[in-house]
Symmetry: C2
Subunit: 400 residues, 2 copies
């Protein structure tokens, strides 16, 4: 259940030969009737934007789209003008197969950077795939499977909301297992919903959901050239259209969208390359939300904190040091830190605690670190991260 | 040859029992006559400053010092008021042994954070050490050895300059093998010189040298609670005093000081925990020095670039992606990248090159990456970094 969960969307996936091992590498998501519907996207802030990002931005300028074509196995990044021609051709071929306009097709690629796209397989594959899109769960699964790279599991999420008495559905599929960083993660995510919502409002809702989810995760601080989150809203649920970014309907929609994106974000962190631990870092008691974010991001971007997580070592000295380097303001001698609910630092110095119990709890896969900056303020922020394990190095040391 | 290379300084090192394995862990550097001389320091910008940093800042307020006492095996950080009392006591004991004022003693500690200082050994050790300081090479070596933590080799450097016809000498010892980051590295460095130089000028010279050396190195982006670089200048060379931060004498002094700091910085990067590669990243053709710094720092802080170095993989896609995420401005399709003198990216896309030859050159320990941002500007900046190897994780996964 993912991008085919909402009414009125079809999807599919297949292997077209981009990946040398023959794994699925091509996916399409489309409106069932080919109509262009409200669409919104958020993209990498990297100055080096992959060709598909450049083309999707162009095609999204009118706020409408009817389909998304995605490939894994090659990022089509740092590929120059030939890369843009390939990205445009992916849109044209998809449009041809579906009987729609090329400018209503968005395109995403993920894989290695700086390798010319092997286009023969794509050229043959897209017509085959457009002919066999479907609305079943399996079609959604096929699409979700075809966008994976180093991911070990597919990522899907579905949520519903009641808008004016009518149930709307939001479904998503995504890839992402490394280069996960706030602003924003190295990932592709395609979201569909049958909610009726004006395009500018959809865009605002997406930005709000991304801010609370994908931007609250840091595995290795990397931002890539291809990061893209797209949402298509076809209005098939026939709810009263959400026309403004306020009111109950809007907030219910944002809540459901945030649930979907939050689930995907957590799935990505849990599947992070080589990771053996999943950690939630909660900073509270900061002067402001901004300070809490600085401290939480400082902690989660720390390789040393990540190494300690790998070792199951509740070494709070690195946590307080990262807070101090983060730019957040606080009194180091008012800070308390706990791991797994056990406080081992109080007022900035070691706190007596049950060390045997704590070491036992540190063996769990899920680790919760709570840092109270002790300023008396109410600023708080939560970030997700993982440990840094040898498997991460093994995964990333060579491209082939 | 290190802190005893310049005339008029004594030093020594010993094991006092802070390290459980009995390795040397206590060092002192002092003026031979106990006179307080021109002194300057740069310290961590971390908000969480270790007790010795707090006390050294106090004692350096008058710009004079006669001695530095240093210990390894415990950082005396996040130790609250008891930690400050211990740092003050280290100064008092040193002063007592040398017959000088406690406020003329500076103090440095390095080791684990958040562990109360085991003070008995220090209390017994300092009087023994002050009684046996000497000016021989071996005394300098003993001091340089006693400040090491995870370092596998001691770090020393010496340079000379001719100031008004007279040769002055600068010597330094340092520790640092991880948590190396610009602004500034996690390290202790003690420098002595017999040059006659006014204190404000000495401070400015130190800042200039640090900016060009320790701030141009990134191993893991970490800034600790204890980072300190100190310099004592006793004037024993009897040169015409350098009284202003300009003119040939000043520039010769800065050049020699930069040589010393640069050598120490390179020694630290070469000894980085677990590292198997040493890399020099040269960014040129940027619009400005600032943009070149942004790009160079973006590259060297990248775990993924470091993983590729470990694998000996000249994956320029990650380099261009990090430049794009760095905030530097350039046209991605004007960028050229070379490894070991072989250009494998030109105008932002793959360049035909001798891949077999390049893969062979990537087996070397020393790697040079040159990135030309192609803006037509003359901004350039060089940073040092290392690979990210499994040994780094092994070293940092547990504190004990």
């Amino acid at each position: 259940m993912s991008v085919t969960a909402a009414q009125g969307f079809v999807a599919g996936g297949m292997a077209c030969g981009i990946k040398e091992n023959g794994a699925p590498d091509l996916a399409i998501v489309a409106t069932i009737d080919g109509n262009a519907v409200a669409a919104a996207g958020t993209f990498t802030t990297n100055l080096c934007q992959a060709a598909p990002v450049q083309i999707s931005r162009e095609h999204l300028a009118d706020g409408k789209a009817a389909a998304i074509v995605l490939n894994s196995g090659n990022a089509n990044a740092a590929t120059g003008e030939p890369g843009r021609q390939h990205a445009r051709a992916m849109c044209s071929l998809t449009a041809l197969g579906l009987g729609i306009e090329p400018t209503n097709v968005l395109v995403c690629s993920t894989g290695l950077i700086g390798i010319p796209m092997p286009f023969q397989g794509i050229e043959a594959g897209i017509p085959q795939l457009t002919a066999k899109l479907g609305a079943t769960d399996q079609d959604g699964i096929d699409a979700a499977t075809a966008i994976l790279t180093t991911d070990t599991v597919k990522k899907e999420a579905v949520a519903t909301a009641i808008i004016g008495g009518i149930t709307i559905t939001i479904g998503a599929m995504a890839k992402g297992a490394a280069m996960l960083s706030p602003a924003m993660a190295t990932m592709l995510c395609a979201i569909t919903t049958d909610c009726a919502i004006d395009q500018p409002v959809l865009h605002q809702a997406l930005a709000a959901a991304v801010d609370e989810t994908f931007d609250c995760m840091d595995v290795d601080g990397a931002r890539s050239t291809n990061d893209t989150v797209l949402v298509l809203a076809n209005g098939a649920a026939s709810n009263n259209i959400i026309a403004a970014p306020d009111g109950d309907d809007y907030h219910h929609f944002v809540a459901a969208l945030t649930t979907v994106c939050g689930s995907i974000a957590e799935q990505m962190a849990r599947d992070a390359e080589g990771a053996t631990k999943f950690a939630r870092v909660i900073v509270q008691g900061a002067r402001s939300k901004g300070d809490a974010k600085l401290a939480a991001r400082g902690i989660t971007k720390s390789q040393l904190v990540q190494c300690s997580l790998y070792g199951g070592d509740p070494y709070w000295g690195r946590i307080i040091s990262e807070c101090g380097a983060s730019g957040a303001y606080f009194d180091p001698e008012a800070v308390s830190i706990s791991y797994q609910g056990i406080t081992n630092c109080r007022n900035g110095i070691p706190a007596i605690h049950d060390t045997a119990k704590l070491m036992e709890l540190m063996q769990q896969r899920d680790i919760e670190i709570v840092v109270d900056l002790g300023t008396g303020g109410h600023g708080n922020h939560t970030m997700l991260t993982t440990d840094l394990a040898p498997g991460y190095i093994a995964e990333n040391m060579r491209t082939s």
